[in-house]
Symmetry: C4
């Protein structure tokens, strides 16, 4: 109908600042919504004296899942932040990859609820597989986004060398490996599996130097 456009309406490749602000918002909300799932079980009878203290203690698997997911998402936020400081520009594909990454991170709310509820139930193993598996998927999309950027060097800050980019990938891969092991461990021990996921968070909370000393 018309001659094809010779130049796009708006730049196809743009600054990352607004993408980062939007991602920050999603991270902040996803991390805060976790608390909504901490509830007293409906079986607790509020009219009966002496039951509340016990009920609050019995919620410890819920607290453990809350702490693990909160710290994991906080670390993912910090890593996302670090990653985008190395990214100079964004294109439509990167925006889509980032949207999918945010989608799986937001989704973590649900496996958190499931693992907390089933921690002391017969299906605890399945719940822990679901939880660590969801973290593994998140890690895969994290690495996928970085792999995409590394293959489009014009999106990277000029100061980032290929060897630097590969080092980042190697550090992020630690998460993938541990989450995969945690999935296997979940069949034998749900608590051990969740604690392993928590340790990934602790690892990334270390300064980069100490992390490098462990990995390389």
């Amino acid at each position: 109908m018309q001659p094809p456009p010779t130049q796009p309406l708006v730049a196809e490749v743009t600054e990352t600042s607004r993408l980062e602000a939007f991602s920050d918002g999603v991270f902040a909300i996803a991390i805060t919504l976790l608390v909504l799932e901490i509830r007293l079980p409906s079986t607790v009878d509020a009219g009966k004296a002496g039951t509340l203290a016990n009920a609050l203690f019995q919620l410890w698997p819920v607290y453990l899942a809350y702490v693990t997911s909160f710290l994991t998402i906080a670390i993912m936020w910090a890593n996302h932040h670090t990653m985008f400081k190395m990214i100079r520009r964004t294109d439509r594909s990167l925006m889509l990859l980032n949207a999918v990454l945010l989608m799986v991170i937001t989704f973590l709310n649900f496996p958190t609820v499931v693992v907390a509820e089933y921690f002391q139930k017969p299906d605890a193993g399945v719940a822990a597989v679901f939880y660590s598996g969801s973290l593994l998927v998140t890690g895969i999309f994290f690495n996928g986004l970085w792999l995409y950027v590394v293959r489009q060097p014009h999106l990277l800050e000029p100061s980032i060398t290929m060897s630097n980019a590969r080092r980042v990938l190697r550090q992020y891969s630690v998460g993938l490996v541990v989450y995969a092991i945690a999935m296997g461990v979940a069949f034998f021990s749900a608590p051990a599996s969740v604690v392993m996921c928590l340790l990934v968070g602790v690892f990334f909370a270390l300064p980069i130097r100490r992390r490098a000393a462990i990995v390389e």
Copy 2:
């Protein structure tokens, strides 16, 4: 009582930056709240071994609705962003139109819940009509906002020509047409209708050039 004001207290026409920041916040929250609706059905007996894996698989319509709505809102955010890069200034009417647009986008949470719950129920068709119809209404307000801006060229960036503005409208109309068809399809097949809505998201995830190649 008083002489009418000769000049307004504050500029009637202002920069769009704060409107964009507020809209970004609403988008980020609307997209993140979707996960709260993913829940194990209350009919699942947590005390019985071997039921969880099956229950998680049975939730696939919920996951499908989650993915479709998440990607749709993410794309709407990206398009809103692109649109406001072409808008230089805002007035009260544009603020109101934008508020109504945000209202229908936020509302999408509810049809998402309905279509997920009824996907395999007798009323699946009605649910899919409600879902695709809500997306159609959102698209209409999206185009309406742009039509308003195009008719007030002083709100547009000077670099945007009328032919450019019309091209944007034509691309956005693709969403309208497909959502309308998806409404019709919903009477025959709810899954086909939802997948069509998902494809609109995929279309807008393409780079502008490829989209233009499809539409024009």
Copy 3:
């Protein structure tokens, strides 16, 4: 124990930018959370064909309450924005007044749920009194914040004259008056009361000039 501090650690009077950003966040979340309260009643039997369409129509009071509260909070955001463009600096008291204002605005979620649920119930009048009364309280804190600022002219932008400041107050008072009338009307007709509250939103959506033509 120690000599009293001769100068404060940090400025007692500071820029408003971060207060505005925080307020914007609370507005964006308060407005988005409204949708979580739109739910199919638990009495609807999903397994029975032909019930969904009717159930969705029966929710119209919920939609009406959603639209009214969404537009009202959107307008309050816009007015808050306009007001803080006239405020140059903030002090602790203004921060506290602003926190209380945000608290009553966030609270509106609850009366919205109540009025939607009781719209066609015997206690509809009480629900509408609660709803319009909550809006009235919000308006009082809105005007209170502005009154405080006007009495501390060093917090105002130098370009704002006292006559300007009073004009703003007069326009905001329209909301107070109509909400108070809506409270009275609620005893006779809940729908009329809610519609009056909606009209306040429409009034403030008008450009300042037209509003002035109505009020002054």
Copy 4:
């Protein structure tokens, strides 16, 4: 496998602006989510005339808990803001400490629900211990973060002297002391305990000078 990196990929010590923006988001969401817990009890029969007004009045412990937690989190936001104006740079440990602080602040949603629900139940004392204890833990992490920064003076703004830094610590300690007393009081009177927690908020709402007059 490789020689250890001689210099980090990205600066280990960075500006605090993005950490503050993320924290602001979490504060804004945590404070707004509180309203979701205000609900009419399921025992209220909506079909029966004359029950709603009474039900709304009976919710006063819920309102009291809402006001207390809302103001407390608002004050914590303001203090966090003041604290980070004195912090020039952030490192990984500070980011982790800040994440843990945000985690306990977000968690406050749950004790708020518990204290509101049990306010007039036999276990009110336990609920109030849980509530004031959670606030105490939050205060401890608040002070812990500040202690960490004070011991790393290169993270502080150069204008902050050690005596200033200690004064801040002394003021924040007021919260710790009162929350600890409120925990003890809770065993005798839940309402008195909650009101004491509310008064901490009022204390920090005072201008710094008046606070200093009380404490020093």
